[in-house]
């Protein structure tokens, strides 16, 4: 893409310097996503095959599921896709500030989705007594949705990496800058990790199980403190970034590549939501 940058105008959909006319990074991601389709295809099939002929001792899905919570997390994931598309749109127009905001928004929405899944799994295991090994339904369900959740978690990490990449100074990395970048990544990981492992599941418990607010704060005081500290850290890193940056419109292909992965995770959930959840209620 560098030749385009030199020419002034960047065509974000075509690259005449490659034999296919498609940027290599984009082609690689599409090939990977095509292979991931087959991966999820087999997992969804396995789940459905065992739902067609359920063995004895299976849990009843409608008694286990909480369709309201799953619908909410589906909506959140759809909205995260919107923010991701807007992040790509912003970087293609050279608007770095908007790109960062949209990337962080996507991370937050992705973390809310993961938090819903953490709560769901915890509730299924402890309240519904459905583990990965005590029924075939549990085995296929946890394998499928857990694999999808892992994809979302990897997506959140990739989004974090590109977000931190957007602060790379034009002068390159000196020793101090490198250390600062690692610290930035660490703060980001604390921010996302504490949010989806502790805060979101605690918040859902607060709403669904009518836990008193005082109990919520008492139980999560240290996590809320750590989360607040990581928010302050992210704000400080954003404020103290270099003026001249090695990040701009020519990096749109990097943001778009991660966007492709994120949207793929969304379309897989579209299928899982219908095939695994909604069809059980008919």
């Amino acid at each position: 893409m560098s030749s385009h940058a030199a020419a002034g105008a960047i065509d974000h959909h075509h690259d005449p310097t490659t034999s296919t006319g498609i940027p290599h990074k984009k082609l690689l991601w599409w090939a990977f996503l095509a292979s991931d389709c087959m991966f999820f295809g087999t997992l969804i099939s396995t789940h459905l095959v065992y739902r067609i002929n359920p063995p004895p001792g299976n849990h009843s899905p409608t008694q286990v599921f909480n369709i309201e919570l799953t619908s909410f997390s589906t909506f959140i994931l759809l909205m995260s896709s919107l923010l991701m598309a807007l992040a790509v749109n912003a970087i293609q127009r050279g608007n770095i500030r908007s790109t960062r905001t949209m990337l962080l928004g996507t991370v937050v929405f992705g973390a809310i989705f993961l938090g819903c899944q953490v709560y769901e799994f915890e509730h299924f295991v402890h309240a519904q007594k459905m583990t990965i090994s005590n029924s075939l339904f549990g085995s296929t369900f946890y394998t499928l949705t857990g694999t999808h959740g892992t994809h979302v978690a990897v997506g959140v990490l990739l989004l974090g990496l590109i977000y931190i990449r957007s602060f790379k100074p034009a002068s390159g990395f000196t020793g101090g800058e490198m250390l600062k970048t690692f610290a930035h990544l660490l703060v980001f990981c604390v921010f996302a990790g504490v949010f989806f492992i502790e805060i979101v599941p605690g918040g859902i418990q607060l709403v669904l199980e009518s836990v008193p607010l005082a109990t919520f704060f008492a139980q999560n005081a240290k996590w809320l403190g750590l989360f607040a500290a990581s928010c302050v850290g992210l704000w400080w890193f954003a404020r103290s970034s270099a003026r001249e940056l090695d990040f701009g419109e020519r990096n749109a292909i990097d943001v778009e590549a991660i966007g492709l992965y994120w949207h793929f995770v969304d379309i897989v959930w579209i299928i899982i939501f219908t095939a695994v959840y909604l069809l059980e209620y008919i």
Binding site: T20, A34, C37, I44, N89, Q92, R93, I96, L136, I267
Partner: protein, 118 residues
């Protein structure tokens, strides 16, 4: 290089913004999801609800890949490449569901032997 030099107002050669297209699509996807949830609670024929859910999911799927994932604006080869994986995955699913949905493909779980196995 720096952010100020890349402000949208500073450069006139950027491609047109798709902001309204994306926001509009997100609204449509939300409405479709809402319709899907309501559909399963309505006292309608099972075949109709299943068909509707499959069609609505397919519409959402195609909207996301063609608009959010830019396939509409990219070279056709990207679409072909992705659909190779998609068709293979769909074919595998269809074959497995046909095989295990057939009478002869039912597991032995209903028999005492099956109970032992599971």
């Amino acid at each position: 290089m720096s952010s100020p030099s890349h402000s949208p107002a500073a450069a006139g050669h950027h491609e047109p913004s798709k902001f309204h297209t994306f926001v509009g699509l997100a609204m449509i996807l939300s409405v479709i999801t809402g319709v899907e949830i309501v559909l399963v609670y309505l006292p309608l024929a099972k075949w109709f609800v299943v068909s509707s859910l499959v069609i609505l999911s397919a519409v959402k799927f195609l909207c996301v890949i063609f608009i959010f994932m830019h396939l509409k604006w990219d070279k056709l080869f990207c679409t072909v490449l992705f659909f190779i994986g998609l068709v293979l995955a769909g074919g595998t699913m269809w074959a497995l569901l046909k095989l295990f949905g057939a009478e002869a493909g039912k597991p032995l779980s209903a028999t005492p032997l099956g109970l032992l196995l599971f």
